[in-house]
Amino acid sequence: MTDQDAVDRAFRALQDRVDRAAVAPPTERIEARGRRRRTGHVALAGLTALAVITGGWAVSRDPGRDAVPNPPAATATTGKPPSASPEKPPTGTRPVKIPPGFLAGESSADEVIDDHDYQAGCLGQPVARRVMSEFDGEQAQRRQLTQALYVYRDEDAAKAVMRDLKPKLQQCSGFEGASVLKPVSTPALGGEALSITIALPRDGAGEHAGEPFRFLVVRVGSAVAVFDGIPRTPETIDRSTALIPRLCVFGSGCPPQGAVPVTPAVNGGEAWAAVVGVHETGTHEPPADEKAGELATRGYRAAVVPLACDVGAAAALGVPEGRSYSVVYFGSRQDAETLGLPVVRVRTYCL
């Protein structure tokens, strides 16, 4: 037997062994797991049902009025202009849903998964979660970056997760037993943060053995973000730098960086609506782009509102009144145009 025979024989033996021992689970099981993941719907956890957050906090509207908005003809001339003063987040509207495009670089990521498999022993019981990965090059093992976001029912729950996580950070990084290059530290990021850097062990596929791997966990308000990259690269840091400011929407709210929006308070009041997107019929889900995430970064709240509740909106946008839209209100056209979105003049009802 030649040396080359030994190579062929070893590969054949491995394949034979797998053929004998590996049993593919039923296709239905794979499909069921995929279906659960695809659905990824997360309840709004007892919060205002219609207030699907598309950035910042939501302006709440009575969902019961959804189907039967106030008749505009009866009130159009009696309303007062909406309040021009900045509003505090309405009580009970803390965001628990992760807007589409919220993670840094999400629109171009190789994978974005809601309801992903995660370590409950490390990250507790979030009410919403999302992970995204970016791979570099033809062979993704050259580099991969991962961001994961976990949103909890409230800030205390998120703090408890961080408290429990600290003593087991290395274990939760997935590299228990690996050499520690930088022990657990608490960098000044977000509300609180934990970081550990270990040397990648030679296991699994063995790539990048010995290179530093940083596991960074940052909490802001009720959200916990996890960043890692194999190997560690400047991009890992860039991604965390880009995402952390956005997390203010899960905390005390993000202050608007420009013109101050208003919250319609009076039926029939006039407002200038900066339109984030018009939703498909029968859904309150905002369009899947990064606009909502970008607005959150800039401190603007959007509300999901039936077009029928804002007289003038549907006609100006050229869409049926049966649909909803995501919108940020301003007191003047000039202010509304600062968002760089389509602007329409409306009279607000259903308040």
């Binding site: 070893a10 491995l14 590996a22 794979i30 992903h116 370590q119 062979q139 093992q141 030679r202 699994g204």
Partner: protein, 161 residues
């Protein structure tokens, strides 16, 4: 449904090949099957797109490899298997030949190792591997030849000893 049928067929036809590739990286059949299942869950979710690829096998092979190199993901996958489907079935311990092969493969440069695994266990041709790796055909041929050359004495030594 055509999509469902083609996915089921693809899954049946390629599952063991993918598991074999993953065993070559991990030496652990149970773990390889966990990862393979995760790969096919992702493939199912994107099947409409992936099924249009020239060779969807290349996609599952690449994603499987990506998952294997991240222990964190691996842990999550294993956890999901436990919580959603009960404990994984008993899997036999790897035999000595497999362990020898995996140990020997780990001593090779990564490109050679990948080329060997894709060729011998993935069933990919040189041209297909070249496309996956973004390398010329001749480079892949050289990696295969050098890889086999380096592997042979390690395997015969380990078998002999």
């Amino acid at each position: 449904m055509a999509d469902a049928d083609t996915f089921a067929e693809f899954y049946r036809d390629t599952y063991r090949g993918l598991v074999a590739q993953l065993v070559a990286y991990t030496a652990d059949l149970g773990e390889a099957q966990d990862v393979a299942q995760e790969v096919y869950v992702r493939a199912w979710s994107r099947w409409r797109r992936i099924s249009t690829y020239d060779d969807p096998r290349a996609w599952v092979s690449r994603v499987g490899h990506n998952l294997v190199i991240s222990r964190w993901r691996r842990a999550r996958t294993a956890l999901a298997g436990l919580t959603r489907h009960g404990p994984p079935p008993d899997t036999p311990e790897p035999d000595a030949t497999t362990l020898d092969l995996v140990a020997a493969l780990r001593r090779l440069p990564e490109p050679q190792r990948r080329a060997l695994v894709l060729f011998h266990l993935g069933g990919f041709t040189v041209a297909e591997i070249a496309r996956m790796e973004g390398a010329p055909d001749n480079t892949v041929k050289a990696r295969l030849a050098r890889g086999r050359q380096a592997l042979a004495p390690m395997l015969t030594t380990e078998v002999t000893s």
